[in-house]
Amino acid sequence: MATTTEAATGTPRTRTRLLEDERWLAFFLLMPTIVLLALFIAYPFMKGILLSVTNTRVGVPGEFVGLAIFEKVWNDGIFREAAWNTIYYTAVTTVFKLALGLWLALLLNRHFRGKAFIRAFILLPFIIPTVLSTFAWKWMFDPTFSVLNWLLREIGVIDQRINWLGDPDLAMGCIIAVNVWRGVPFFAITLLAGLQTISPELHEAAAIDGANARQRFLYVTWPLLLPVTMVVVLFSVIQTFADFQLVYVLTEGGPANATHLFATYAYQIGVRTGLLSEGAAISLAMFPVLFLVVIFQLLYIRRVETR
């Protein structure tokens, strides 16, 4: 009773009193997060859905058209190519990043001189802003000034200049290579952290038990590293699937749409061409795929952890 009457008067004292109520306190503490999430995640997401069910263009307020836009996008050959590219790009880069990252992590987990220095050094590709390092790569792939071409010519592997980013087959290989180059450090360092939580005594016990190096990796290291591996792969798949900067800087989706991903194609259609609804629909197409990937991997991680 007393609280309600005091609350009505609204003195600073009652405001303090209000914060002592857990429900109000929780509300106040959550407020900033909720506002940020609503403003930057929920609102754009809802706006995207709204856009995709209208036929809005730049300068043309749209009308509700139901799923017509989705149907149009679905029948778009370039969209299908971009979808296939995205899956291919994600799958291939993830396999390479995992394999190389694990290999590096195993090497870095040994004792050697200058260990700390090398470990920091490894992170460089990851620390440099993607746009900057990708521009550097773009120059290296340049048909005329390419250091790659120069090198290959010098050692006599080729006698004609290779147009790295201009050839549809090579271009995909190039963006995959750059993505792997950039992503390996993250895999290596995270897996290294995972390796270091595995007690060396377990390897010693296994060695005494008669396991050779390969068996120790297979039966001890790998099963214990699996939860960490799943988390890294999860992050990497999400990031790679929605990758934009790297492709945008290197090829802008070309040549002949050979390297378009969901994100770059959505940008191309939505912003460059001004077909906002189509752009939104293409972006949203990523959502169910990523959602499934996340659900699957989270379930798997939980299963591994409760084993």
């Binding site: 007690s199 377990l202 038990d209 008669g210 396991a211 214990l224």
Partner: protein
Amino acid sequence: MARVLLRDLNKHYETFHAVKDVSLEIQDREFVVLVGPSGCGKTTTLRMIAGLEAITSGEILIGDTVVNELPPMDRDIAMVFQNYALYPHMSVRDNMAFGLKMRKFEREEIARRVKIAADILGIESLLHRKPRQLSGGQRQRVALGRAIVRNPQVFLFDEPLSNLDAKLRVQMRVELKKLHERLGTTAVYVTHDQVEAMTLGDRVVVMKDGWVQQVGDPLELYNAPANKFVAGFIGSPGMNFAAVSFQREGDTLLAVNHGLRITVPAPIAARLNGHAGRDATLGIRPEDLHLAGPDDDEGHCFEALVEVIERLGSEILLDVKVGPASMVASVPPTVRTRMRDTIRLALDPERLHFFDAETEVAL
């Protein structure tokens, strides 16, 4: 089963000499305990036997084979680690079976051996569990099980009981002893706990700063410590020490300091002959002191001021001052004294020890 031979074993870590000229012959079926304070090189020695640590110089033989260059798996040893080192992702059964699987045993043979080991250790009902679902004592048993299924030539133990609570430790100690009696496998056991060493070891190796101080059966170490370090390390509460000098009075040799004037018994005096005039440390164990009675020779009695009385039930420990020196006397629980009382204590002359004041070697 096999004997283990260490010959002039040395271990250098970059700048640090951790194990120094350790030579030791461990007989087939023997239970040998390495004991010493933390950092004295026990674990390093054990790990060299296991093949987990490279040998700087010297030789290790298991059976009749020099194993210096052999990897751990070819040495036919099993090791129990201080933190158990159970594979966390495997069930108890798989933990125990792992070594046999790696050695390509038949499925039936693996099952049979795991069952026998589980029976011996009383862990049949835990076989399907994961290590983290076990208590400390149970994990300890699984670690033992993993060692015994392999039926190796030698067991190596590195402080296997130190993570258990006091009561469980005593219980597991007894079980380890029984297990060794039953299996008869040669065992090398590392501990910093002298009680564990004395109760478990057929022979005990006392180490300090990388050096072996003394090797002997438990009673030998207790009765005839080779130096002051061993004398103080073995036995609980530890031996009392007092700095003394020797004086000759007619035919008798006296050990003298501010509070003491002890007649050295003839057999010991004979050994000390060359030492008269030099300083020494007198050593006497708390249990070799008692309240002076009419039967005690005057030359073996001295006055002491009671400072603390510790009643342990089966005995009373008196912390006393004798001149400037502090001593502990273990007396029967029936003795009545009070703090600050001055009492007369007598020592058992047969049980006197003397050590060189400088080299600390037993005289």
